[in-house]
């Protein structure tokens, strides 16, 4: 007789560092993106210590100076150090980007899962409202919200968050619809668990992968939207350092005589969004079981 040996030992668990190393090896572009995001985050949150100058202080002795040892990225038309303004601008971008993405994402997560779980009239109403909000491009919707509530950091966060909610809820709902029909959800319902518990403990954890990917891409979108609103004069207001704001006014006026005023904030926006998008793509590849083993 031969005996069948079943190996029921658990798969080896990878530590955080092992997972990170594996991610870095498999996703070099994503790693590059992650590095850019980390640099941006560190720069933004340590601005007070690393910025060489006060970002709002005028220096009439150094107006429109080209890059030099004293001012590595040059100065603007008020003599303000561009490097310091870009460093502080990273903070503004992160605050707006992260706040909008996280609040918009989580709101969308809850709404999307609830919409899929309850179905029927609730789902119908939520989806039609989402259709209406999503009929407007993000920047147009944000413009409308800022026009109503006025400019400023808080209102910009609100303006960008609102259009992100239905975008997230739509994606989450489609994943949650599949999960709703799973036997374990029926089992939980049969056990008499409440709606909140079923949604939060049994459904939400299973839509986290697409949710995380969405939120990551939202950060980039929110940074771009903030820059656009600020460029249009509807976002963050002077003298608060913000990349989009740095592209208007003097940057346009001195585009031919002092191009560094426009170039460096533009490069900062480009690198930040590129980094977030590369990281988001890599995260999707890493979390998507269909793409994971390719």
């Amino acid at each position: 007789m031969s005996a069948t040996v079943i190996d029921d030992a658990p798969l080896p668990q990878r530590s955080f560092w092992q997972s990170t190393l594996r991610f870095c090896k498999r996703q070099p572009l994503g790693t590059f993106g992650l590095i850019l995001v980390i640099i941006m985050a560190v720069t933004g949150f340590t601005a007070e210590w690393i910025a060489p100058y006060n970002p709002t202080a005028n220096d009439f002795a150094a107006m429109t100076e080209p890059p030099s040892f004293a001012h590595l990225l040059g100065t603007d038309q008020f003599g303000r150090d561009l490097m310091s303004r870009i460093i502080y601008g990273a903070r503004t971008a992160l605050i707006v980007g992260l706040s909008s993405a996280v609040v918009g994402g989580f709101s969308g997560l809850v709404i999307g899962v609830a919409s899929a779980y309850f179905g029927g009239l609730t789902d119908l109403i939520i989806q039609r409202v989402s259709d209406i909000v999503m009929a407007f491009p993000l920047i147009i919707m944000a413009l409308a919200v800022v026009s109503i509530f006025g400019p400023g950091v808080h209102n910009v966060i609100l303006a960008i968050t609102i259009p992100l909610i239905p975008r997230c809820s739509r994606v989450v709902r489609s994943s949650a619809l599949t999960i709703r029909s799973m036997p374990y959800v029926d089992a939980a319902r049969a056990c008499g668990f409440g709606h909140t518990r079923i949604i939060l403990r049994h459904m939400v954890p299973n839509v986290v992968a697409p949710f995380l990917i969405m939120v990551t891409s939202f950060v980039g979108q929110a940074i771009l939207a903030e820059a656009s609103l600020s460029y249009l004069g509807l976002g963050v207001q002077e003298p608060v350092p913000a990349w989009g704001l740095m592209l208007q006014g003097g940057a346009e006026e001195y585009a031919s005589t002092a191009p560094w005023i426009a170039i460096f904030p533009g490069v900062a926006i480009m690198l930040a969004v590129l980094g977030i998008n590369l990281f988001g793509d890599a995260l999707r590849d890493a979390l998507d079981p269909k793409l994971r083993e390719r």
Binding site: T56, A57, N58, F60, M63, T64, Q77, F78, G79, G150, P151, G152, G233, Q237, E238, P239, G249, G250, E252, E253, Y254, A255, S256, T257
Partner: protein, 528 residues
Amino acid sequence: MRRILLACLLAWALPATAAETPKRGGTLTYMIPADAPPSFDGHREVTFATVHSVAPFYSVLIRINPMNPSSPDDFVCDLCTEMPKPIDAGKTWTFKIRDGVKWHDGTPLTAADVAASWNSIVYPAPGVLSARASIYSMIDTITAPDASTVVFKLKFATEAFLPALADAYAFVYKAETLAKDPHWYEKNILGSGPFKFTTYELGQSISGVRNPDYYLKGLPYLDGFVGIYAPKESTRVEAIRGNRAALEFRGLPPSAEQQLRKGAEDKIAVQTSDWNCVNNMTINHKRKPFDDVRVRRALALAIDQWKGAPALAKVTNIKTVGGIVFPGSPLAATKEELQKIAGFWPDIEKSRTEARRLLKEAGAENLSFELVVRNVDQPYKYTANWVIDEWSKIGVKVNQKVVPTGPWFEAMRGGTFDVVSESACQSLVNPILDVQKFLPTNVSPQNYNQYEDPKQVELYEKLLHETDPAKVRADMRAFEDYTLDTAAHTLILVWWYRIVPYQSYVKGWKISPSHFLNQDLGAVWLDQ
């Protein structure tokens, strides 16, 4: 020999004559550096956005000579037939009105229309805003005894009367229309000027075509004009550089002039002038803690004008440190006089120490407020950034709120602001009338500081009625010291400098110290 000499003379003279002989035809396209005028009503508004939009459609009674607009006293008739001599010891002025003047709807313009318009300016109906009513305090009555005569009777003789009458905003409106609806001209246009209104697209453009019935025969030279609204300076500069527009009349900063002239010195001409415009920070006295003179004074003391002005002159269209009076005028304060006033002290450290002491004494050490700024780069946004930085040096935190022209005026008129970055721009250089802008709000509707002050009015009345030049100057000093220092009602910043680069084919337009003057385009022509 004589023939040769004559031929030489002709050869020298003819090209110049030919070049300067006005040509008829063409459409002038110019940029208007605003998003839109708050309304079309010149009597109500105080912004170039209105004048640059609608002045070509209207006539006025008298105006500054379009060929000599820098002069403070070279007045010529527009609707009148000749400049009158006053009678009754300078208290009665009788103007004869031209015959055959027609409104753009074909109906005749009479003295009754002129009188009704001026009555509407001087004595506006309840609920109607007349922004400059206060400068006509010398006028008693305006009547039209017959269809071609308008009589102004004054309460007292003053040399300030004619300059006030030549106001660029004093458009003549149709009496019948004013009687039916005094607000009609806010949203509609019907004039008797050199151009007839054709189209207006909100935030885009305004246009007009030649008025074939214009009373100044041979004018206008242009077939029409298009004014394009563009609040962004870069848009306007690019439009001029690409010859999609010939110019903007308001004025551009030195950087734009350099940019336009670079490689196109033969195509771009430039006219410059000192500008009868000054930046001021309007403080809402009705909001705490700005009801406290110590706080207002502290805000003035924090600003280093002597260092800021020359630096900002490199990047903006502001240039000269001055008080309440146009610098260079005989009534203006000397540097020594100015340096005794809060905000002009030569020792900025001493000034800021005093500012901090005043804020502490007033219990406003951690002062924080919102500064409303007009969405026009030059010089509003520049000035705002500068003063915010200056105020931060005494610990004051300021949030800047940039708004379009319409909401900017709404905030000022409604008193819904803490501090506004504003400007005092006047037409002719006439300091005695120009400073009326700074009279209390209940006297001068153009003053948005929201306060009443009988003492300030008393000082002004003394100044207005004085005729001895030396005493007028002394009275002006007393008025200035009280307004800017003792009561610190408003903050005067730096005076502007007007630079107008334009396509050199534009002829017949001359710069003046005011961007309100000489804007009817009647004498403008294109050398193309």
